[in-house]
């Protein structure tokens, strides 16, 4: 009995130690991390470009939609905007674009809006259902004449996370998806600070950390190299989260 337990514990221990070592080996790490590309390829093949994330009825919404990540950027620039009720807010949209320009909140609010009740899935495992409203990201990108030859759209945010600027990126498939919106309102009211005021990205087929809050500027780019540490987002750069967060 004791021998068996020792054997199993020993085996499990070896396995565990093995796993710790494997992640340190660059080639093995590359194989393990290639799982992300396999899932992206499989999901994109199964989804088709415009497959919609499920939408819910009003009576299916979470009673309380918890906030997560940054609750308040609390920088002097951001606080000044809050004091001003975001009247001075300008969303700069540029990069690989024919007509780079900036939008006021009034500009964004006057664009045709989409309202959707969707599920927000955190990488940690919890889910919350809420109603989001705002213009399609695609409309905004077209208004700035973003080139279809660009590959990614980068979102820079007002908040610092662990002292570093938060940013995120998605590719053009998700950028022009019919549910990808710049949310200005949540659950029927203007977005509050905890949930990302004044503008928050909704990219409904991916996990929560992709839904950048406090969006300050949008840039269309050909490559993610040279932005942050080059992996396409704060979490991707600093903690090895997957850039493609469809699973």
């Amino acid at each position: 009995m004791i021998a068996r337990r020792t054997l199993i514990a020993g085996g499990a221990g070896l396995m565990l130690a093995g796993c710790e070592k494997v992640v340190q080996v660059p080639a093995a790490r590359a194989i393990l991390f290639a799982g992300e590309d396999m899932h992206r390829g499989l999901q994109r093949a199964l989804q088709g470009r415009d497959a919609l994330a499920p939408e819910y009825r009003r009576d299916q919404m979470s009673p309380i939609f918890r906030a997560n990540g940054t609750f308040n950027p609390n920088t002097p620039d951001y606080n000044a905007l809050v004091a001003d009720k975001f009247a001075g807010y300008r969303l700069a949209v540029g990069g690989l674009a024919d007509a780079p320009r900036s939008f006021t909140l009034v500009d964004l609010a006057s664009m045709p809006a989409r309202r959707q009740i969707t599920r927000h899935d955190c990488v940690e495992g919890w889910s919350a259902i809420g109603e989001w409203q705002g213009p399609l990201l695609g409309t905004v990108l077209k208004a700035a004449g973003v080139w279809r030859s660009a590959r990614y759209v980068v979102f820079r945010c007002f908040d610092l996370y662990g002292g570093q600027p938060y940013y995120e990126s998605i590719d053009l498939v998700d950028a022009f998806h019919p549910q990808t919106i710049l949310a200005l309102a949540m659950n029927g009211r203007a977005l509050d600070v905890a949930h990302g005021a004044p503008v928050r990205l909704r990219v409904e087929r991916q996990l929560g950390y992709k839904h950048a809050k406090y969006v300050q500027s949008i840039e269309a780019v050909a490559t993610l190299d040279g932005i942050g540490k080059g992996k396409g987002g704060y979490w991707e750069d600093n903690v090895d989260y997957d850039w493609y967060a469809g699973i």
Binding site: R4, I8, A12, G13, M15, L16, C19, E20, V23, I31, L32, F33, A34, G35, E36, M38, H39, Q43, L46, Q47, G48, A51, L52, A53, P54, Y56, Q60, M61, S62, P63, I64, F65, R66, R119, D121, C122, V123, E124, G125, W126, S127, A128, I129, E204, R205, Q206, L207, W235, V239, D240, Y241, D242, G246, I247
Partner: protein
């Protein structure tokens, strides 16, 4: 596999063909890594809910313990690296099972070895097999190479219920797959229900694995290990 009649003790039987042996070991590694990394992921939010949504302010039907370092991959909490292990080996598990199932239908492993025979599922036969297990008798002397009834039940349960369930509920947790296959959510009653069933089917697989290992030891480690490595198994003495 071969149901050689009245083979005397010590007779070598070719019991497991190479696809079965290969899948067994690939799957064994995948299961261990998936459970270890999955428990690491569980530590990120150790609460289980029923329904479409569920977060800190909602009612959780289960609050799981924090799984200790010796059970999780990696040992020290790292959600990103747990997910990397989990999502890579999820592909190994799912496509491995798919390939094994196709091969096992084609080479008739399922039809020959896992099919219930007339009288297998009667109360008398089940009771007799339970009593035989309690006496540590695992083989029918008439058909020493054949699986016993409880063995067939547990293999069928793990192959056709628990493993497909853990894979499909895993897919239902994925927001990308919910867009591709919305029926996944209808099947399980929402993402958080799927997440709960994912955990429960993992627990069933873990229990199966423990019982499986105990029975291997009781039936004779050397003989059983040889048969799942080389395919050759010797009819045990009475």
């Amino acid at each position: 596999m071969s149901l050689s009649m009245n083979a005397p003790p010590g007779t070598p039987l070719y019991r497991h063909r190479w696809p079965t042996r290969l899948w067994h070991w690939v799957n064994a590694i995948a299961i261990i890594i998936l459970i270890g990394s999955g428990l690491g992921i569980s530590n990120a939010h150790p609460r289980l809910y029923w329904g479409q949504y569920g977060a800190n302010f909602d009612y959780a039907w289960a609050s799981l313990p924090r799984f200790p370092a010796w059970l999780t991959i990696p040992a020290s909490y790292n959600l990103a690296i747990s997910r990397r292990w989990h999502l890579f080996f999820a592909l190994v598990l799912a496509f491995g099972l798919l390939a094994y199932m196709i091969v096992s239908v084609v080479n008739r492993h399922f039809q020959r070895d896992l099919r219930f025979r007339r009288g297998d599922l009667t109360r008398t036969s089940l009771w007799a097999d339970i009593r035989a297990h309690l006496d540590f008798r695992f083989h029918d002397p008439e058909h020493p190479g054949a699986y016993n009834v409880l063995q067939k039940l547990s293999y069928v349960g793990i192959l056709f219920i628990a493993l497909p369930l853990v894979i499909l509920t895993g897919l239902a947790i994925s927001p990308g797959m919910d867009a591709a296959w919305p029926w996944l959510l209808d099947l399980f009653g929402g993402r958080q229900s799927a997440r709960s069933i994912h955990f429960l089917s993992m627990a069933a697989i873990a229990l199966f694995t423990v019982v499986h290992l105990v029975l291997v030891i009781l039936a004779g480690v050397g003989n059983e290990l040889r048969s799942i490595v080389t395919g050759w198994w010797k009819v045990p003495g009475e």
